[in-house]
Subunit: 362 residues, 2 copies
């Protein structure tokens, strides 16, 4: 909990820093824009909660038309299930008796729990616990070019689908990918080959789920996909601006920071360090975009200090005590640092939401 939390109605600029703040209007616009796009293209949309980790935001996404949510871990899913959300896809290989036991308990109490698997070992682990009384739906994760988890070929996907179908407690849910951005044709080629193989073997494939924000507005080019998952679009960040998904004006999250030192003419120190901005570079050479001083460069972060190089600033330079707004390189990881998120509209605090799934890595 932020022990210096603001009250509703307080000017957002009065919030104790460093603080992540969310513009309600921008967030609402992001939710509506993406849901409209998915609706227009007949794609089911499943927001990934990793970006916000907040129950109220997930409910806003569902109210706009999302079919369910995407989590990464069992402990995250438990939090959203507790809040009444019944359609949850966990895009992770769940293994080990403790986690699978909790997964089974979760499967008993929500309507549509799904997980993914990319190996015989993962499926074997799940098969030992679930039963045909209430089978667990398992999708096969496919590496269509993302280079993380996933089977490497459509033939392997078929083999795992068969193993799932043979397991009494499991039900084959389809195919899932964590894709490489900008590779719609490659993803489509992969999926269409896998679907042909499944079809040739009389295996129905209920869902084909693609994901990602960077190329979200090309999701319709993956014609085999029935569903798209995305997280970052809800707040957006500097990396999404660079990817062409949005503009700086579509970034709902800012880090409000205070200039605590001006040791030299060219150096400002702000109270947002890696404990507020994280060290995620995502290909950038600096640690965030200073909205109020676009020529300023956050060149170094230590835990509680951000070193800002002002040498390129042609106009005014920030003074000690001044507050500045920063668009983070990567919004999702910032959410994971704070127990509470401060929302604002038209310059005033609207609400403080618990980041309920913060730190849930299990």
């Amino acid at each position: 909990m932020n022990p210096l939390r603001p009250d509703t109605g307080d000017p957002i600029t009065s919030v104790s820093t460093p603080a992540p703040i969310i513009d309600e209007n921008i967030m609402a616009r992001n939710i509506a824009r993406v849901q409209t796009y998915m609706d227009e293209h007949g794609l089911a949309f499943r927001p990934h909660i990793k970006t916000h980790k907040i129950v109220a935001v997930a409910k806003a996404q569902l109210a706009a038309g999302a079919v369910g949510i995407n989590c990464q871990k069992v402990t995250e899913a438990e939090i959203f299930a507790d809040a009444g959300i019944g359609d949850i896809l966990i895009t992770y290989n769940i293994m080990g008796p403790e986690k699978i036991g909790r997964l089974a308990a979760l499967n008993e109490r929500i309507s549509a729990l799904k997980v993914v698997a990319d190996s015989h070992a993962t499926i074997e682990g799940l098969a030992t616990v679930f039963s045909d009384r209430k089978p667990l739906t398992v999708l096969v994760e496919c590496d269509t070019g993302g280079g993380r988890c996933g089977v490497q070929t459509p033939e392997e996907a078929l083999a795992l689908a068969r193993q799932i179908i043979k397991s009494a407690g499991l039900s084959f849910g389809g195919l899932m990918t964590y894709p490489k951005p900008g590779s719609a044709a490659q993803i489509e080629s992969w999926f269409s080959q896998a679907l042909s193989l499944l079809s040739a073997n009389d295996i129905a494939c209920p869902t084909v789920t693609n994901g990602g924000t960077p190329s979200l507005f090309q999701a319709h080019e993956v014609r085999s996909a029935t569903e798209h998952r995305a997280g970052t679009y809800v707040y957006n960040d500097r990396a999404m601006v660079r990817a062409g998904h949005c503009t700086l004006e579509d970034c709902a999250m800012h880090i409000l920071a205070t200039v605590v030192s001006r040791p030299t003419a060219d150096r400002a120190i702000i109270d947002a360090g890696s404990k507020a901005l994280t060290s995620d570079l995502l290909g950038f050479e600096d640690f965030g975009y200073v909205v109020d001083y676009p020529e300023a460069v956050i060149s170094v972060l230590t835990e509680e200090h951000g070193t800002v190089d002002l040498s390129a600033c042609t106009g005014r330079r920030p003074e000690i005590g001044e507050k500045v707004r920063i668009i983070p390189n990567h919004t999702c990881v910032v959410s994971n640092l704070f127990d509470e998120m401060i929302f604002h509209r038209n310059g005033n605090v609207t609400r403080v939401e618990p980041v309920a799934a913060r730190g849930m890595v299990w």
Copy 2:
């Protein structure tokens, strides 16, 4: 809270992953070694709690002979004050009425609260709240080469010392630096010039406090220093091994992770991503040292996945479900991600400590 927390006595290898674990024996050895060095050189030692953020560890450091603790923020100091620790130095420019108000409340209830300042503005802010009934001790932060906060010249240090002395509610506590590692001669030159200036102006300088783990065992070369502050030494990490401060065997913190996927012969995916290891590179090109597979390279992190390149591994390669131990690049930032820390000795869990000051950035 880790909802999958282990019981005392459990084998440490049975802990749900990802999990940061601390070897009690190594930690105790690190505490003793550094305290012995400081005692031998007549330096007061003030551990920085940023590395562990745990009350019980701070108490162990004090029991070994530390004079007090070092915090970075008021909210951190409050937690350790609540635990009965009375000598706290906050090495930060505290500004804004809310934080200064809390600082004043803290000053009422502990015996020796100290802060630093590097500008007239910071001192003015403090001077408005504190009174001569119980003055606040303020040290001047000096940039002796670290390039972060701090006055740039001994003359500026003198000017700020004078301003502190003139303020009825403030008491001049001395000089403080966050130094550049490996620059003992430069720090000493800076401090000795400043001390001469202060002395020439009849200003007593009770404390000269230097800091840092990387060059900790050269602390005695800064002869003007009366005190040294360090945090990382308590756990150590990969960056401290590279700096020559310690060996891999002196690293008390490991991240226990499970191999959740083996998509290709050369690729393993572990369940420790940036939410467990952080993205801090600190000059490394990869995200941690895999103790069990030294040739493995953690090449990419996303939030919940670590991508491990096995192509250089000449022997066995890890299998799905296998647990591996990782020494993080930077231990302090890992502590900030977890609500609880798991301690172990001789293979078994000894205790689970709350990371009470996690997330306290205010």
